[in-house]
């Protein structure tokens, strides 16, 4: 996990955008196979405020729609469940990661390749908007750094 953090810190300097008390870091999107109609976006959202904050909406150009999702595994079955909002706890953070919470970019209008940057706008329940420049990476390269997404156990 440390090596991932280093990798991300080095290569994802761009997306670290801080507005008021909520900031986003380590934002990335795995490159999708050519058949994909949807892509997941992952990031860590930090909240330094004493109040919890909710992400109530995410949007991105070149996609039909964007949803907030959670992947869960129940009795060995994998499920994806749309979430009305994501809560970032007071003085805490929420990690969006494979096998957990993620932003689902649905209806790919234009295929993205590793190296592309997709701007994702998050809307908070306090009306604030945060622009996150999210880089596309080859999934393989990220797995290599993270001896596999350990899901919830990490």
């Amino acid at each position: 996990m440390n090596s991932l953090k280093h990798l991300l810190a080095l290569s994802l300097a761009l997306p670290t955008i801080s507005l008021a008390d909520v900031s986003v870091k380590e934002a990335w999107i795995p490159e999708a196979p050519p058949t994909a109609q949807a892509m997941g976006a992952f990031m860590t959202i930090e909240n330094s405020d004493a109040q919890a904050v909710k992400v109530i909406k995410a949007s991105a150009p070149n996609f039909d729609r964007v949803e907030l999702h959670e992947s869960i595994e129940e009795n060995g079955m994998h499920k994806m469940i749309a979430q009305p909002f994501l809560t970032i706890p007071a003085k805490g953070s929420l990690e969006l990661k494979p096998g957990g919470y993620h932003i689902m970019l649905i209806g790919v209008q234009q295929p993205s390749k590793a190296g592309d940057v997709i701007p994702i706008e998050l809307t908070l329940d306090n009306g604030q908007k945060i622009m996150v420049n999210t880089s596309v990476y080859k999934r393989k390269d990220m797995m290599h750094k993270m001896p596999m997404m350990k899901g919830k156990s990490e």
């Binding site: 949807a38 992947s71 499920k79």
Partner: protein, 223 residues
């Protein structure tokens, strides 16, 4: 006359001994293969590869492969297979799992593992996964990965004994109507290990770390 009889007797005795030897050999091999070697289960970390107490035969079903040809279940024979059920429009988990499987193949190639092996991706989304889509999807990860799909009933024949399951989940359009072409599928995420006799002998539970999986494979599979 006596000489000939004695010769015959010796010949029959010899044949009997040879036949007996083969019968014992066949029985011992059979017993070994009917049950998984219990020592095997102790050799690998069950959180990486869980060996089943008994191998589970995978029934043949009528499926179409990524080249649009009927899939010959003999392709599951004479080699080890990593078997995974999913669908190409699966947004997150299937690409992650196929990346892991491509990683296992890469590991085994790097280690020059001689035991024949391959990956089979079974799409449970026959409605949308045409052979062409299957090919584009798996080839993106590793062109040696085979992919198949088929009628729901045929898929269930193959999947049921090995516990692979899935459920279609309708998605609703803006008018609140179920969208016929835009649905998700909840499905099992385990990767099964199939032996050269076409029987599932174990399962790789999630999470799937290609390095650990390749190590478990080389521990279990004789060179």
């Amino acid at each position: 006359m006596n000489e000939t009889n004695r010769n015959h007797k010796n010949l029959w005795m010899g044949l009997g001994i040879i036949a007996g030897f083969f019968i014992i050999l066949i029985i011992s091999v059979g017993v070994k293969w009917m049950n998984n070697d219990p020592r095997l289960a102790n050799k690998v970390d069950a959180s990486v590869l869980k060996i089943f107490p008994h191998p589970i035969a995978i029934p043949s079903a009528s499926l179409i492969d990524k080249a649009g040809k009927p899939f010959d279940f003999n392709q599951l024979k004479n080699r080890w297979t990593f078997l995974y059920f999913g669908y190409t429009l699966c947004p997150d988990i299937c690409p992650t799992e196929l990346t892991a499987l491509a990683g296992v193949l890469e590991q085994l190639r790097e280690q020059q593992v001689k035991a024949a092996h391959g990956v089979l991706f079974v799409s449970v989304d026959q409605q949308r996964d045409t052979p062409d889509r299957l090919r584009q999807f798996v080839d993106y990860f590793d062109p040696t990965i085979q992919a198949v799909s088929g009628e729901e009933s045929e898929l269930r024949i193959m999947a049921q004994p090995i516990g692979a399951a899935w459920d279609k989940v309708a998605q609703f359009d803006e008018q609140g109507q179920p969208d016929q072409n835009n649905y998700l599928i909840n499905h099992t995420t385990s990767i099964l290990l199939v032996d050269p006799q076409g029987r599932a002998v174990g399962v790789f539970p999630t999470p799937h770390d290609p390095v650990a999986m390749a190590k478990a494979f080389t521990t279990v599979v004789p060179e």
